[in-house]
Symmetry: C2
Subunit: 291 residues, 2 copies
């Protein structure tokens, strides 16, 4: 039995009476509320009382708590949010999906290495193909950031296959798709929003006529299969990579299934020692220019 | 009758024997091939022998030819590509969709003004609402570029409604959505690619069972209505705004319908004097800081 007589099924229940709202300023909230659950959980991982933290709370606060209590791995310049994308030919991982709104080329290089470790250990892909999200497949297409990152990635030892275009993201552009956090966040939300808006619009068109309604009943299982495959709940969450402990961020509106899958995602990362693999990978391949 | 005895229906046919391929370097190709059709057409507009140029050719070459022969309007810092988005509640315009891979805050301010003129004159929207594409609706969410652009747009006199999130782009985030050309190009291609991939995936799921196939036949008219609404051919093209003449860029794989609509889009811009409206708007509202 845990505190207050709750049956915790043998798990230790740690009290965390503070609450960080979704609209609070992350860094301030994390300092002002040391007893919020995501802060308590990050401390528990830092103190090795827990193996991983899973939260569906304020993403910025999770990042701030991770940086403050878990801290960066020695050679990591910036942590990154790695999100599994339900691509048509199997999952790929998009990073950074929003940890850093501004990034430098050497950060993108590290994101490539971190994404490769994620793809290998969490998605089970041997020698994952890495691409850089840009505005044309040719090496000379891009902005200043991607042009410089392209050169670094080409010499990285990763299985780098050049630029990926966003039009191929859902079809399966690469095992690992690298970008800055602003672009990644725009891309991720656009993907989710477009899928939702399009399926809603199709449903409305179908419901507009009796013929359509009958057809809609008949395609319901097919639509449900598609929705399940594209559902973010299938993966349950994103990894916050680059810290000295494992952190999984679930959607703010996660279902019970999504939370269960997020915990499974965290467990897989612990079993495959993603943090140890990252620590081992980054120093050895980090170019001196990135110091 | 035009040259070579072709019946041109009374239109003057101007010979343009050079060809610029899709993979040629834009600026070099435009200088090396003065008799390519898009270069000839830009010169015709510059010489006032034509009112507008429409091309489905190399976008970069079109931009280079526009800058070289049409030249920028006096107070325009950078031209921008303005693309109509088939949003659920009516068209909105996204700019810059790829003319400038890197942009400064004052460019985004001008894109806001240019997009407002486009929405007023081409889309027929009075007092269009302008939003800045970012990674959160709050003013303090964004990267360095959008944070600074937000401040400029807030003081611009435009009907600025703050940040838009990419998840709302297809649902109708605003009449005018402003961003740098890298982000806009990623967003536009992601939108197009996700729509195509999703509809293909749905078709494949439907075709997987006899029940689904029957349902698919019944929803065909509904799906066709949706596809027509979302079809880029419906608008036919994008405006290259900020030049001393009107230029419309059509998709490289445009159908005959798309080319006809692109010409219609150009005609509408001429009738509504979009270039004159831009020239009149930009100096008067341009803040001194942007000089």
């Amino acid at each position: 039995m845990g505190p207050r007589g709750l049956d915790t099924g043998g798990l230790e229940l740690v009290e965390a009476p503070d609450t960080i709202a979704m609209d609070e300023k992350p860094a301030e909230a994390v300092r002002a509320k040391p007893d919020a659950s995501l802060v308590v959980a990050c401390r528990a991982v830092a103190d090795r009382r827990a193996d991983a933290v899973v939260s569906a709370g304020n993403t910025g606060a999770m990042l701030a708590a991770g940086l403050l209590h878990l801290r960066r791995l020695p050679n990591v310049l910036r942590p990154a949010i790695a999100v599994p994308i339900p691509a048509a030919n199997g999952p790929s991982v998009l990073l950074d999906s929003g940890a850093n709104a501004d990034a430098r080329p050497e950060h993108l290089l590290q994101f490539g290495h971190m994404g490769a470790v994620f793809a290998e250990e969490v998605l089970g892909i041997a020698r994952p193909e890495v691409r850089l999200l840009s505005i044309g497949e040719e090496a000379e297409k891009g902005n200043q950031l991607t042009l410089e990152a392209h050169a670094l990635l080409a010499e990285s030892g990763l299985r780098f296959a050049g630029n990926a275009e966003s039009r191929d993201l859902l079809a399966g552009a690469a095992d690992v798709v690298v970008c800055d956090g602003f672009t990644g966040n725009v891309a991720l939300k656009l993907l989710e929003g477009t899928i939702r808006t399009l399926l809603d619009a199709l449903r409305a068109e179908i419901a507009a006529t009796p013929r359509g309604k009958l057809g809609g009943l008949l395609i319901r299982p097919a639509a449900a299969r598609l929705r399940t495959r594209l559902d973010p709940d299938t993966y349950g969450g994103a990894y916050l990579l680059g810290l000295r402990g494992l952190a999984v961020i679930a959607h703010g509106n996660s279902s019970r299934v999504a939370i269960a899958n997020a915990i499974r995602l965290a467990a897989r990362g612990v079993e495959h020692d993603v943090v140890g693999r990252l620590a081992a990978r980054l120093p050895e391949r980090r170019p001196s220019a990135a110091v």
